[in-house]
Each structure stands twice: as C-alpha cells, then as structure tokens.
C-alpha cells in the first residue's frame, strides 16, 4: 500500500542513518528482514491488532521472536511498538534495502524469462544492463512460461519488455486504436 510506504519512509531513513554511522548496514538489513517476517506472521498480526496488549508487552513479545538484535535494533522495535507501527516493518525493510542499494550504487533487476537462462547468458545480460544504467546490477532470474518467449527485465519502476507476450499486447493496443 502506498500509504504504508509513506509511513515507513522516515523510519527506514532513520534506521539507515544509524546503521551507516555504526557501519553495520548488512547487520541492520538482516535484522530488519527478520523483523519483517516476524511482523507479517498471522498470529503476530493478531497480537499487534489487539488493543488489550500494552505496547511494552507487545514489544517484549515481538523481540522474543525476532532473534538476536543489537541494543539500537531493540530500541527501534520498541519505538515501533510504542507508535503502533509494527505492521509497516515489511515496507521499512524494503525501503532500507533500496537505500542501501542506492548507497552502494546498485540496482536490483528482476529478469523474467520464458525459458531457463544459463549463467553465461545472465552474465552477459547483467553486463549489458550495467552499461546501460551505469550502476551495478543485482539480478534475480525468474522463469515465467506465460511470456511465451523472450525476456522481461524490471528495474524498480522501469520495465524493459522484450517478451512475445508484451509484443502481442502492444500489437493489440495499436490495432484497436
């Protein structure tokens, strides 16, 4: 949800600033990802939504299931519980990752292909993309038979569609107009 992203942004930026100052970006990323999973659990969601559970108790419960956390990370979770914002943790984790990528001049690409790609192909593709976008690319490959043929690359909002399905859709639109 767009609104959740808006709520999550200041938290993610604060966490990122802290992590950067402490030189613990990777540790924070792992911790946030763990907390995101914990907060998305159905039982946990019930607890979060329950008004009878006080914020302090909720924070204790939450920290109990989130594994090993540093002092700063624990107070971050406490703050979220106090502000009743534990539900936006998945968005915080996502934004944190984006900030980390921007810091490291890296972008994530999701490559969907109709057929499995071998390592050399992926390597070539990543090299091409790195040249085009002028940054490092972290690629994840997905197999999507519904594309019929070709590939579709998504870098955040930007999508390069070179799949047969995409071309068919473009053809359908231009024929109808």
């Amino acid at each position: 949800m767009a609104e959740n992203v808006t709520v999550a942004r200041p938290y993610a930026e604060a966490a990122f600033a802290l992590a950067k100052a402490g030189g613990a970006l990777a540790a924070w990323q792992g911790a946030l990802a763990r907390m995101a999973v914990a907060s998305a659990d159905t039982q946990m969601l019930e607890c979060i939504a329950d008004p009878r559970i006080a914020p302090a108790a909720l924070a204790d419960l939450f920290l109990g299931v989130s594994g090993d956390l540093s002092v700063e990370q624990r107070s971050f979770a406490n703050l979220l519980a106090e502000n009743r914002r534990l539900t936006v943790l998945p968005e915080i984790s996502e934004l944190f990752e984006q900030l980390k990528n921007a810091e490291e001049d890296t972008r994530e690409a999701v490559v969907s292909s109709a057929f499995p790609l071998d390592d050399a192909q992926v390597k070539n593709l990543v090299a091409d993309l790195e040249r085009k976008f002028g940054c490092r690319i972290k690629a994840t490959v997905e197999i999507a038979p519904e594309l019929i043929g070709g590939i579709r690359i998504a870098l955040g909002d930007q999508v390069i569609d070179a799949s047969v399905r995409g071309k068919l859709a473009a053809m359908a639109v231009s024929l109808k107009n």
């Binding site: 767009a2 992203v5 808006t6 909002d157 930007q158 999508v159 071309k167 639109v173 231009s174 107009n177």
Partner: protein, 512 residues
C-alpha cells in the same frame, strides 16, 4: 456481430506495418485502488503531470496528482475492468485529439472519437488538448462582428469575433436556444462552429444535432458531446478538446465560434474529480483552482494577428487574422449570480447576456434582461448600420424600465411620460423573436429604423410582430435593391434613410 470502423483490412495492414516493436524501457506502476473512475497507482516514478497512462484493456487515463508515493489518475471511459494490482504504463505523451476540417459535420466525444455512427474520421492532424493561449503580442483587437441574428443581442449586446460573451441564466430560460440560433445564423458568414455539450442529456444533444442538420448548419459545425452518462473525466475534458479543434481554424486564419454548454457542469465534474483525488475543498466544495480551469479555457478564445497566423502556418497563409469566439453558458440556481462559478466566469468574460425566467414566462423571448446584459468590447465590432439605429432602442428600453415601476402607482401621467412608456412597450415587443428565425442585417436595420423613427407608435402593441414580418416581406419584395445595398455595405446613407422612410410610410398605408 458488431463491426468496428477500425476493422478494415487496409487499416489493419498499415497499422501492423507502422508498429514499433523495439523493446524500450518503460515506466510501470501498479493500481492500488480504483474509486469512481479515480485510480491510485504505486510506482510510475518518472510520470509527468497530465501525461496519458495506459491501463490494461485498451483504456487510457490522465495523471493528475503526483504525490510522494503514489500517482492519482482519472480513467477516461469505462473503469469497471480495472482491478487492484493491474499494471499501468507511462506513454510519454500528453492527451491529443484529432483536428482539421474533416471533423466538420460530425459528432465526437471528448477524445475526438466519432459517436454519430458515420464511420471513422480521416483527420490528418492531432493536437494537444491543453495548450497555452496566445500571448499579448500575437493578439489583435476585436473589430469584426459575429451576427447572432437575434435583434436583441445584435442591437444591444453586440459580440465581436474573438470575444468571450457569457450566456447566463436559470434553467429553462433559453440559453441553448440563443446559442443554437447563433450557430444557425453563421451560414455563409465564413464562420466555423463548435458546439460542446457538457453533462447534458443525450436526447437533448440529439435534438440539437437534428435541428442543426435540418437548418443545414451541421456542414460547418463540429459537435463535441460529453453527456451526463459519460465519466466526469470526459465531461471535464470536453471543453478543452473542443477548444483545440476550434484553435485549428483560428491559427489557420479562419474564424470560429465555440459554445460551451455549459461550464457549470464542467465545474461540477472537476469538483467530483478533485474531491475523489482528495484535493482540499474550498468554497462550495470546489477545489482551489476552479477559477483557473475556466480562465485558461476562455483565454484561448482570441483574435490573433496576421503574424501569428503566418508563423503558425509556416508562411502558407499570409495577411489574414484568425479568431475564436467563445460563448460559454452558465446555469444559475434561482437567479443567484453571486454563486462561486457564475461570478468567476462573469469576471473572466468580456460581457454577459443575462436571461431571466420572469421575462421568459412573460413571453419575452429571447428573455434577455437589457439592463444587466453588457458587451465590453463588442461595440467596436458592431455593424455600422445596427450601431447607428440600435442606440435608440437601448435608450428607449432603459427609460421604459425606469418609468414602468413608477407608472404603476401614478394614475394620470403627463404626455411625455406616457409616450415614453408606449415607445418602451413597443420596443420590448419588437425585441421578441421566435426560435430558429434569425434575421439578416438588412431586416434588422428595417425593424430598428421603424422603431426609432416612431413608425410603430400607432401600431397596436399586440400586432407589432405581425407588422414587422409583413414589413420585412414588403421590403424584400418592393425594395430589394435597398436591402441588398445595406447587406453589402452594412451601412445606411442619407438617401437610403430617405428611401426607407418613404417605403415604411407607403407600407403602413397598405397594412391595416
């Protein structure tokens, strides 16, 4: 099985040949929510304000709100098939509509698509819907008249080519009638017309179109219709689309007349869109920029100089000015002109024609209130002969209004006052005119001349209109040369006046 006009094999062939299939990087987002034609979209980081967005199912939308984490867009047309999670693509284009003479005689929707069932429109050009009006140096003063064919309007509130004249009044006061009569009278006057129907019943629009066809007015007219059943986005866009079609004529050194019927409904549609986009409501729940939607629209109606036309056509048309005259219509509620939208549009336009239900019910049609109706720039453009003869009419009516209220209480009046009252009564009667019966300049001149010279003073008040019709007939039969001369020169010289005077005297002898 319905056949679509775009399903012709040649068309399909050329489309397939011209299709661009190279993979390009496109901005994409996902639909978060759909509420009454408004979509919230997540993503689309590079979208521009007013950009066209492509939804699934051959549907397009317009990005209106660019917020930090989402984009608010209106869907043009049906939105029922759009669901949460659908992909939305940027197109990199601003909304455009077809323009050109091919649209004449057609009925189109706000996107310029034909809705009259007469097949595809072979328009060669398109242009942006939202454009900036010509600047100060490209403009020219209004100096040529628009003949509405209505005595009351042409004599008292003349409209010039390039002027914006508001038609304002309650429901059922004949606003559309004035507008349609004006279109019908443009036949043979080198004027192209655009009638933009906003938020009206489809049956009303069909009636107007049929009437225009009957009178042979469709051949120089484009009808842009966004009926009450169309989405608010279409009703909001229709005036801009019509204006772009009109600007084609203006920019190519021709004259065009555009009627927005009516802008109140456009403001309502915009209010709906704005509230659904969660923009803060202001006075009467309209958004803050409701003045701007009308001012930027009406500012595009203008008379442009030869230099503008030359520059615009790349030197193909030289020495010609172009104009777009706008007649916006505003519907008031119970005569309240101090409501938000009426005051806005009154302040934007160069004058108003104020129609009143009391007058309408009293049988004065067109129901124009001559006291508060004004034209701020039209005087410079008024036809000479009408200007010469029409001054007396305005004065007679003004004096009559002043005396009429007062005379109700006085039992015996002096001779001069009684005479003024009688004159006023007759002029009021003379200003009545049936619908779809526009008068030529010469006919109008005869009527005004007769009133000015006191020829009507001894005609029974109830018979004034019959007298006028007979007089017009007589003049056309017996004094065709004089009538032609007036039509050609738009003026009445000394000899002409003498001839007309003797002609009317002669006619009165035969008329009983």
């Amino acid at each position: 099985m319905n056949l679509n006009p775009s399903e012709i094999s040649d068309l399909i062939k050329s489309r397939i040949q011209n299709m661009q299939l190279a993979a390009t990087a496109k901005n994409e987002g996902t639909v978060v929510s759909v509420t009454d034609g408004i979509c919230r979209i997540h993503g689309l980081a590079d979208v521009m304000q007013g950009e066209m967005l492509e939804f699934p199912g051959n549907t397009f939308g317009l990005a209106l709100n660019l917020e930090r984490d989402s984009v608010g867009a209106v869907v043009m047309g049906d939105y029922e098939h759009i669901t949460e999670g659908d992909t939305v693509k940027c197109t990199g284009r601003i909304l455009e509509v077809p323009i050109g003479p091919e649209l004449l005689g057609r009925v189109v929707n706000a996107l310029g698509e034909p809705i009259d069932g007469k097949g595809p429109i072979a328009a060669k050009m398109t242009d942006k819907v939202e454009k900036v009006a010509p600047g100060v140096i490209w403009r020219k003063s209004v100096s040529q008249p628009v003949q509405s064919g209505l005595k009351a309007i042409d004599s008292m509130v003349p409209v010039g080519r390039g002027q914006r004249e508001l038609i304002i009044g309650d429901r059922q006061t004949g606003k559309t009638a004035v507008a349609v009569d004006t279109i019908i009278n443009q036949k043979g006057q080198n004027m192209f017309c655009i009638y933009v129907a906003i938020g009206q019943k489809a049956s009303t629009v069909a009636n107007v179109v049929r009437k225009l066809e009957e009178k042979g007015a469709m051949e120089y007219t484009i009808v842009v219709a966004a009926t009450a059943s169309d989405s608010a986005a279409m009703q909001f866009l229709a005036p801009y689309a019509g204006c772009t079609m009109g600007e084609y004529f203006r920019d190519n050194g021709m004259d065009a007349l555009i009627i927005y019927d009516d802008l109140t409904k456009q403001a309502w549609a915009y209010r709906q869109i704005s509230l659904l986009l969660r923009r803060p409501p202001g006075r009467e729940a309209y958004p803050g920029d409701v003045f701007y939607i009308h001012s930027r629209l009406l500012e595009r109606a203008a008379r442009v100089s030869e230099a503008w036309v030359e520059r615009h056509t790349g030197g193909k048309v030289t020495g010609k000015t172009g104009s777009l005259t706008a007649l916006p219509v505003i519907e008031t509620q119970a005569g309240d002109v101090s409501a938000f939208v009426p005051t806005n549009v009154i302040s934007i336009t160069d004058g108003q024609i104020f129609l009143e239900s009391d007058l309408f019910n009293a049988g004065v049609r067109p129901a124009m209130n001559a006291g508060v109706s004004v034209s701020r720039v039209g005087g410079a453009a008024q036809t000479k002969v009408i200007k010469k003869l029409g001054g007396g009419v305005r004065l007679a009516l003004a004096q009559y209004r002043e005396l009429a209220a007062f005379a109700q209480f006085a039992s015996d009046l002096d001779d001069a006052t009684r005479k003024q009252l009688e004159r006023g009564r007759r002029v009021t009667e003379l200003m009545k005119q049936p619908q779809f019966a526009p008068l030529s300049v010469a006919e109008m001149a005869v009527s005004l001349f007769a009133a000015n010279q006191g020829f009507l003073d001894d005609v029974d008040n109830a018979k004034i209109l019959a007298f006028e019709t007979a007089l017009h007939h007589y003049m056309r039969q017996q004094h065709a040369a004089l009538m032609d001369k007036i039509a050609a020169t738009n003026d009445l010289d000394k000899e002409g006046e003498a001839e007309m005077s003797s002609a009317v005297t002669a006619f009165k002898k035969t008329w009983a």
